[in-house]
C-alpha cells in the first residue's frame, strides 16, 4: 500500500478512483501519564509520554485507513491529510483520510 500526500504518484498512472477512505481513533490519556504531565507543566518542555501516545494512535489510524483501502481493492492512497481534535479534556481524536486509487 502506497501512501502519499501528493495528488498523484510520480511516474505511475491512476487506472481507477475508489473514493474517500478514512481511519480514526479516539485515545484517552491514563492517570499516570496525566500526573507526570502535570509536573511537566511546571517545568515546561517535551511531554514524551504524550508524544508516544499520539504517534502510536496515529499509526493505528493509518492502519485502519490501510485496511479500508485494501478491502476495496486499492493499492495506493493519495492526498493524505491528518486531523486532530480534542473531544473532552482527557481524550483526543486522531483522524486520517485520503483518496483510494488503483495504480497500474
Amino acid at each position: 500500500m502506497l501512501l502519499t500526500t501528493l495528488e498523484y504518484v510520480p511516474g505511475r498512472n491512476v487506472i481507477k478512483h475508489l473514493g474517500l477512505v478514512q481511519g480514526s481513533t479516539v485515545r484517552a490519556k491514563h492517570v499516570g501519564r496525566d500526573f507526570m504531565a502535570g509536573l511537566k507543566n511546571i517545568f515546561g518542555g517535551e511531554l514524551k509520554g504524550y508524544t508516544e501516545l499520539l504517534s502510536e494512535s496515529r499509526e493505528e489510524a493509518i492502519d485502519r485507513l490501510r485496511q479500508q483501502a485494501s478491502s476495496i481493492g486499492a493499492n495506493a492512497v493519495l492526498n493524505i491529510r491528518f486531523s486532530t481534535s480534542t473531544i473532552t479534556q482527557g481524550a483526543s481524536e486522531l483522524y486520517v483520510y485520503g483518496t483510494a486509487v488503483v495504480l497500474e
Binding site: 500526500t5 510520480p10 517535551e46 486531523s83 479534556q89
Partner: protein, 167 residues
C-alpha cells in the same frame, strides 16, 4: 501565607528549569538543523519531471510540548493588557521546528533527497491550570519523502530552513 510561598517557589522553579530546558532544546534544534541542511523541504505539490524515476513515502514527525509555570503566569498577565505574547511564541516555534526535524530525520533514514508537500498541524492537548488557556500543544508535520535512486542532484549550501551554524 503558605499559598503565596508555594506560588512563588513554583514561579521560581518554572523560570529556572524552564529557561534551562529551553536553551538546551534550542541548542539541539540548531545542531540538528545544521546536520540536516542538505535535505530541502518543499511545500509544492508537483515534482519536477526530471526527478523520474523516483520512489515516494509518507513521513511524519510529531511532538507534544508544554509551557512552564513562569511563562504561563507572564502570558496570563499579558492577557490583561493585550499585545504580543512572546512566551507562547517560543513554545510554538520550538514545537514546529522539533516536529519538522523529526519528520526530516525519518526522511533522512529512508535515504530521501527531498520532502514534498509538507503540511503542519497544531492542536492544544491540555488546557492549562484554570482550563481556559493553552497548557501544552501538539505539532504534527507530515509530507512525502522523495527518494531519487543514485543520481545526486546539486543542492546549494544555502537551501534549508535555517543557515545558523551551531556554536
Amino acid at each position: 501565607m503558605a499559598e503565596i510561598i508555594i506560588f512563588l517557589s513554583l514561579l521560581a522553579t518554572g523560570y529556572v528549569v524552564g529557561t534551562t530546558l529551553e536553551r538546551h532544546h534550542y541548542k539541539s534544534i540548531l545542531k540538528r538543523e545544521y546536520a540536516l541542511r542538505k535535505l530541502p523541504l518543499i511545500a509544492s505539490k508537483k515534482l519536477p519531471d526530471d526527478f523520474l524515476p523516483c520512489e515516494t513515502s509518507l513521513v511524519t514527525g510529531n511532538v507534544v510540548i508544554s509551557i512552564d509555570y513562569f511563562k504561563h503566569f507572564v502570558a496570563a498577565l499579558r492577557n490583561i493588557v493585550g499585545g504580543r505574547v512572546s512566551s507562547y511564541e517560543s513554545l510554538i516555534d520550538r514545537g514546529r521546528r522539533e516536529a519538522l526535524l523529526r519528520m526530516r530525520e525519518a526522511a533522512h533514514n529512508l535515504g530521501a533527497n527531498y520532502v514534498f508537500n509538507i503540511k503542519m498541524e497544531t492542536s492544544s492537548i491540555s488546557k492549562g491550570y484554570n482550563n481556559n488557556s493553552i497548557g501544552s500543544v501538539e505539532v504534527l508535520a507530515y509530507g512525502t519523502a522523495v527518494i531519487i535512486p543514485k543520481v545526486e542532484l546539486p543542492v546549494s549550501e544555502s537551501q534549508g530552513t535555517l543557515n545558523l551554524k551551531p556554536k
